[in-house]
Symmetry: C2
Subunit: 144 residues, 2 copies
DNA sequence: CCGAATCCTGAGGGATACTG
DNA sequence: CAGTATCCCTCAGGATTCGG
């Protein structure tokens, strides 16, 4: 991905004059850079489905097996920076930090749900296609 | 990305009891690994909107400023492997190779369109959030 | 309990040159 | 024209450690 933390945007010039959806500023490209990042979409999904909308860091982590604290932390920062999640700190000791989706973040869940639906419905076909491709490759190896 | 060329799928086991969307085999994760890849979604979009559904390699390349032949080639291979695009070779000399979306690939354009729509509609808000975050950061630097 | 800082690797992806 | 091979650099992201 291109963005995430530390992307100074080295090119302050006008990139493409017109609505060139194909320059690095293409909104779709930029959004995909975000949600394509490993844990982002998962956080959005988990928070979108969380019943008390607010979830603590540790709880969030428990609901996402496999995520490291570093990446969860980084992902949440990124999302907060983008205005997709909100942070609330309880000034207790030790501090309790809660996260929830903002309305903007919640609205992102809709297109993401579409993607999820497509994935669950069609990934088997993709797997079949892959197996077929592998077989053809094997065949070409078997050829005399 | 996890997949692409050379992904032996080391785990032939049952995909987690049930809808464990959180193991590496999560369909959504795998799909995002694909469409999150830099040029994939662009190819799908371009091919979905192409009027003669079939487009030659060079033409495709012209419609996607910035893509290198290497990456376009790799992307098309990947998509073909996944059964999302079909390749047709005209046995002339020099050879002409045409690409088009399969029905599966075409169906993927729907959820992608949803993502595109969201992006164009909401990226400005994200940009605003980012600027706001930057300002707060600057403020914290200005503090005495 | 929450998160920042550092180290290290593996893979994505650009530029260029070569083959059929 | 289409595709492959090589070089190289950047960066996601995992493990670990330190701080408040």
């Amino acid at each position: 991905m291109t963005s995430s933390p530390a992307a100074p945007d080295p090119a302050p010039h006008a990139v493409g004059a017109r609505g060139d959806l194909f320059d690095p500023l293409c909104p779709t490209r930029r959004l995909l850079d975000r949600i394509g990042t490993k844990w982002t979409s998962m956080v959005v999904k988990v928070l979108a489905e969380a019943d008390p909308a607010e979830v603590r860091f540790a709880e969030l982590r428990r609901r996402m097996p496999g995520v490291s604290q570093k990446m969860l932390s980084a992902t949440l920062q990124s999302l907060a920076r983008d205005g997709l999640v909100a942070r609330r700190v309880e000034p207790t000791v030790p501090p309790r930090v809660h996260y929830r989706l903002t309305p903007l973040g919640l609205s992102l869940d809709a297109p993401l749900a579409a993607v999820r639906a497509w994935a669950e419905q069609h990934m088997p076909e993709i797997d079949r296609a892959n197996r077929a491709a592998d077989e053809s490759a094997a065949d070409r190896n078997d050829e005399q």
